[in-house]
């Protein structure tokens, strides 16, 4: 068991190291998030009332799109240079290695979104406790987006037009995370309490964490055949 854990952590450290060497990749989705969030007021006008009302939804959709953008890099370079094949051949279970990769991917692309969200939320005039709920919902939600998105990324490995295809496959599956995530922030804003939404989002995370790795592994093995 400890060997499996060590293998997963090893893959995670390797991916983190690679990300540190190529910071622009990791920062791209963060900047995308920031820019998308800044474009909405330019398109819709600066009325504070309206911005406060649309803020939760805009920030959640922005985080979702930023995650989609980052998915293309999740397995692609390892697939191209044959690393993925070696991982599939290694004695450690592929599921564990995939989990290590996903953890690194979340630390590099998901966590920065969570950290940047409060600043953007201030631009939309969201009050303090609502921002706390936003951070909590993104903390629970971005791993779900990563787990479900990785299925799409694995299915489209080496496929024509992969980037756009991932969005087409994955966006419908993101509906529940978006509903509960943005709903939690909305509910807090409306004063009805966000606990139910956050609980459901947490349940979604548990379900995704249990099932998604198997689907990802199956999809990777199909791509490597």
């Amino acid at each position: 068991m400890s060997e499996v854990l060590a293998a997963a952590i090893g893959v995670m450290r390797r991916d983190l190291l690679l990300a540190m060497r190529r910071k622009s990749d990791a920062l791209a989705s963060l900047f995308f998030f920031v820019i998308v969030a800044s474009l909405f007021p330019l398109g819709l006008g600066p009325e504070p009332e309206m911005l406060r009302r649309i803020g939760p939804g805009v920030l959640w959709v922005g985080a979702l799109l930023a995650t989609i953008l980052s998915l293309a890099r999740l397995f692609a370079s390892d697939y191209d240079d044959g690393t993925l094949e070696q991982m599939a051949l290694s004695p450690a279970p592929l599921v564990a290695l995939v989990l290590g990769k996903l953890a690194a991917h979340w630390l590099v692309t998901g966590l920065p979104l969570v950290v940047a969200a409060p600043v953007l939320a201030l631009q939309y005039g969201l009050p303090g406790d609502t921002i706390a709920v936003l951070v909590a919902s993104l903390l629970l939600g971005t791993p779900v987006l990563g787990l479900v998105g990785a299925i799409g990324a694995a299915l489209t490995l080496g496929v024509r037009g992969g980037g756009l295809l991932v969005a087409l496959l994955v966006l419908p599956l993101y509906v529940p995370a978006l509903v509960f995530g943005a709903g939690a922030v909305d509910a807090n804003l409306a004063g009805t309490g966000a606990e139910a939404h956050l609980s459901l989002l947490g349940a979604g995370l548990v379900v995704a964490a249990f099932f998604a790795p198997w689907a990802i592994t199956a999809a990777l093995r199909i791509a490597l055949e």
Partner: protein
């Protein structure tokens, strides 16, 4: 062992191809008969609705089409799962043969729903739970079709599509539930598509007849499509070459 049909022998494309060819006219004929009966009941027997007038009659297409769009996704995922578990080639072909029909039904469901919504609610579209989840289902079909179209190797396309279909079928209840939750929060006092529970028995008969007609139609069309897929993929096999020589 004479007289006992070995059903598994039909899991090979070579033996299934002629069998499917024999079944197509039957299913097509039954579909046409049922559709004729259903349309007759729908147009001439079923009474005019006292609230919605004649415009409600689109229900005889709309409701069966929506049922079929959901049912076909489950059937498609079933074939896909079978293909992954048993590694049979025909299962993947069946899944890809069903997908376009399912997508068409999902689209028709949205389209006829819009046509029904305009005279009844005064709007083509509302963000109601059922409408939204039907839209998401349509997107899931499109994703399946796009993924299969993007992969050149047919065996890989089948397997990748199978994983996607299974992930989708696990997600559909979650999506439906979340959208339900979402619409009760957002929708407020706008229209609801829950109909009055009292429905004339003839209306129900018409709907069932049409649903069965669409079901038979789906079988006929997907058998025609699976025959085309079999020929396309097995065109280099000896038996397929013989077919061509026989036809010539």
């Amino acid at each position: 062992m004479k007289g006992i049909v070995n059903w598994f022998s039909f899991s090979s494309p070579q033996t299934f191809y002629p069998l499917a060819g024999k079944m197509v006219p039957w299913f097509a004929a039954v579909a046409a008969l049922l559709a004729a009966a259903g349309l007759y009941v729908g147009f001439f027997v079923a009474p005019t609705d006292h609230q919605q007038g004649e415009s409600y009659r689109i229900i005889f297409v709309h409701v069966p089409v929506s049922w079929m769009s959901m049912f076909l996704y489950v059937v498609m995922a079933g074939w896909a799962g079978l293909g992954l578990a048993l590694n049979t080639r025909l299962s993947g072909m069946m899944a890809s043969a069903l997908a376009p029909t399912g997508a068409m039904f999902a689209f028709l469901s949205l389209w006829t729903g819009a046509l029904w919504g305009k005279p009844t609610w005064g709007t083509y579209w509302v963000w109601d739970a059922r409408l939204t989840s039907e839209l998401v289902l349509f997107f899931l079909y499109l994703g399946f079709l796009a993924l299969q179209a993007a992969i050149d190797d047919p065996r890989r396309a089948d397997k990748a599509g199978a994983v996607l279909a299974l992930v989708g079928v696990v997600n559909i209840p979650i999506i439906y539930f979340s959208v339900q939750w979402w619409s009760t929060l957002h929708q407020g006092a706008s229209v609801s598509i829950t109909r009055s529970p009292t429905m004339a028995a003839t209306m129900f008969t018409g709907m069932i007849l049409m649903a069965l007609a669409f079901w038979m139609y789906s079988i006929a069309v997907s058998l025609v499509r699976v025959r085309a897929i079999i020929l396309e993929r097995e065109r280099h096999a000896g038996w397929a070459q013989e077919l061509r020589e026989a036809a010539a």
